[in-house]
């Protein structure tokens, strides 16, 4: 086993265990904590794939920003006991399990069966180049300039929209 394989199993295992813990814990804060851990595992996997930028952004954006927001909501709203919620709405649990199984089966199918066998030639040098911030920045500001600028409008519009929905009174 190379170092890469060992690290893959460590990070992959971490991500899987954390993901399972996320959905099995009763306390939503603990679940959120495990979700953060899961993001950490994923970031490690991205690093192994030479995608440094995505790895760091995964931490900064998902673990650092989005999950803080989640925790905020959980801590401040103090959601009711989930147990009673599931006891009252039994079908939700089964729907969730059904959707989860479907998605899992689908992904497994796509990965193992659906894709016709093709010999993937991994160009190591190229994958290193693609993962760097420089090449991502270059792609964003040349080839994908219009979509990139369009995202700026999405964000601006979303900010305005959030203001409209959140603000009670306008002066």
């Amino acid at each position: 086993m190379t170092l890469e394989t060992v690290l893959f199993w460590i990070f992959g295992g971490l991500a899987v265990v954390a993901a399972i813990a996320t959905i099995t814990r009763k306390n939503p804060v603990i679940s959120a904590l495990f979700l953060i851990l899961n993001f950490g595992g994923l970031a490690g996997l991205y690093l192994l794939l030479n995608a440094q930028f995505i790895a760091v952004v995964q931490i900064i954006v998902y673990a650092g920003a989005i999950m803080v927001l989640f925790l905020f909501v959980i801590m401040l709203l103090r959601p009711d006991d989930e147990k009673s919620f599931f006891a009252e709405n039994k079908q939700i649990k089964w729907t969730g399990i059904a959707i989860g199984t479907f998605l899992f089966a689908q992904l497994a199918y796509v990965i193992f069966v659906g894709v016709p066998k093709q010999s993937i030639v991994r160009d190591a040098q190229r994958s290193v180049e693609i993962g760097t911030i420089e090449s991502i920045g270059r792609a964003l500001f040349t080839q994908f300039l219009v979509p990139f600028e369009a995202i700026a409008f999405v964000l601006l519009a979303a900010t305005i929209g959030a203001l409209v929905l959140a603000k009670k009174k306008f002066d």
Partner: protein, 496 residues
């Protein structure tokens, strides 16, 4: 790689650029100008900006040359067809801004006008981009832009719980639909290795790579598009959202956003699944994906469910919501033909649909302004209280039914011709039967307007510009029902 090609080709995005500038200008004016000036200035800037964008678009309507070189071509398509759709969207948006200026619902939230108009322009920008999108990333971004702003616009009457409900329902459906679509896109990217829509043709056409995964991907992307055009079975959000939103926004959702969604559907089918066009205009498709059957089922379901559900509605806005589902069904049945004449008939239909649907909505806006309700009872006796409105709305409804001598008849006529050309007799029969069903609920409104007496004897009057807008829509609906050659010729020229 330099940015030179980008600046060389940026003029191809005429209307988008203008709208982007106007959007930013509105945001700034709203922030910097005093409250009173902003209130007056913002709608005017929006209106002038949209008209300017439309004129600028027309100056280079048939120009496709510059795009072929490099760069933008990879993810944006600019051709007369997309320009036609952009023109429709700009045309619709112009009147949506005008309606907003005359709608009491919107005037009541004047403290949020800056936000309202800037979101309207952002939606418009998203729709223009959506029409041109030839890359899944651009497509997804533009759909998100349109959706995010629409959620907020649907809930812009915050004091009305129905409006908030509409906003939330729209958000939940929209988020799931675009999530599913994104999932499909990501699987497709894994399969193809490129986000370009044209590139996925190479993958789908490879018979050795045919598998159930392809169907899953196809279906997932169809969910996203189907939600945007609200075809059955992705239509569940439509009635509630249409009913709760301000009437002007309902008009926008049922007209402009449908057009953008339909262009995406056309692009997806044509780019990914069309092999060739035969000399008599029929499309050779990738056999294994059976789009003809899919569209036939979707069309029949949309037409029937839309029309039969519309029969029992008490709210006129809800009725128009179901009727818009039915109209999407009509257009999907033209899509099922999978031929140039089918596509052309959709383009004709959209033009006429714009006129009559916008007209019908503006009439409803006026009635809601006066009576404060959109229930069918509130239309009692309207025909005598506001004769011009009564006559105009009758024209629109007759046209929506598809009776001669109105524009709606011409639209349906071309669809039926396209279907007969392809010898799709069963679908044609369902189509015609549905039109008969539609007649019942449209005429019901006319009956309430002219044959029922209202309880009170209030007098309503419309101002001159309000009447002018009604005439602006009702006269063309009648004229195009009789003399439609210029429109048909113009639309044909976009498909060259």
């Amino acid at each position: 790689m330099s940015l030179q090609y980008f600046f060389d080709n940026i003029a191809m995005l005429r209307s988008e650029l203008v709208i982007a500038v106007v959007f930013t200008a509105v945001v700034f004016v709203d922030l910097l100008a005093s409250k009173k000036t902003a209130l007056k200035l913002v709608p005017v800037i929006s209106l002038v900006g949209i008209i300017a964008a439309a004129i600028y678009l027309l100056t280079g309507f048939y120009q496709t040359a510059g795009l072929d070189s490099v760069g933008l071509k990879d993810y944006l398509t600019v051709e007369p067809l997309t320009n036609y759709f952009k023109l429709l969207i700009l045309f619709g948006s112009t009147f949506i801004v005008v309606f907003s200026m005359y709608s009491d619902e919107i005037q009541a939230i004047s403290e949020r006008h800056g936000e309202y108009y800037s979101l309207l322009l952002a939606t418009l920008f998203g729709m223009l981009l959506m029409v041109s999108a030839n890359d899944y990333i651009v497509l997804y971004i533009s759909i998100e832009l349109v959706s995010l702003t629409s959620y907020v616009l649907a809930g812009s009457m915050k004091t009305d719980p129905k409006s908030s409900e509409a906003s939330l329902k729209y958000l939940l459906y929209g988020a799931s639909a675009s999530g599913i679509m994104l999932f499909g896109i990501s699987i497709l990217y894994g399969l193809v290795g490129s986000t370009s829509i044209s590139d996925s043709y190479t993958y789908f056409s490879d018979i050795t790579k045919f598998s159930i995964t392809n169907f899953v991907v196809m279906f997932f992307i169809l969910v996203g598009i189907g939600y945007k055009i609200s075809s059955v079975p992705f239509h569940f959000w439509t009635p509630d959202v249409y009913e709760g939103s301000p009437t002007v926004i309902t008009a926008m959702l049922s007209v402009t956003s449908k057009a953008a969604g339909f262009m995406v559907l056309i692009r997806f089918i044509v780019e990914v699944f069309r092999v060739d066009v035969t000399s008599n205009g029929f499309w050779t498709m990738l056999e294994q994906y059976r789009w003809e059957q899919i569209f036939t089922v979707l069309a029949i379901a949309s037409m029937s469910i839309g029309n039969f559900a519309a029969l029992r509605q008490k709210s006129v806005k809800r009725m128009l919501a179901y009727s818009s589902i039915a109209h999407i069904g009509y257009m999907l049945s033209a899509m099922a033909v999978l031929s140039d004449s089918g596509l052309l008939s959709i383009l004709y239909y959209f033009f006429f649909y714009y006129l009559m649907n916008l007209g019908a909505f503006v009439a409803v806006v006026y009635v809601v302004n006066k009576t404060g309700s959109d229930s069918i009872e509130s239309f009692n006796g309207i025909g005598y209280k506001m004769p011009l409105l009564g006559v105009a709305l009758t024209i629109f409804l007759v046209s929506l039914t598809g009776l001669p001598p109105t524009a709606g008849f011409i639209g349906k006529f071309y669809i039926v011709m396209a279907m007969l050309e392809a010898k799709m007799i069963p679908l044609t029969i369902v189509f015609l039967l549905n039109s008969v069903v539609a007649l019942y609920y449209y005429i019901r409104v006319v009956r309430h307007m002219f044959l029922m007496r209202s309880d009170d004897s209030k007098k309503y009057t419309l101002t001159v510009p309000e009447n002018g807008i009604l005439l602006l829509f009702s006269v063309p609906v009648v004229i195009f029902g009789i003399y439609f050659t210029p429109i048909v010729e113009f639309i044909k020229s976009t498909l060259k």
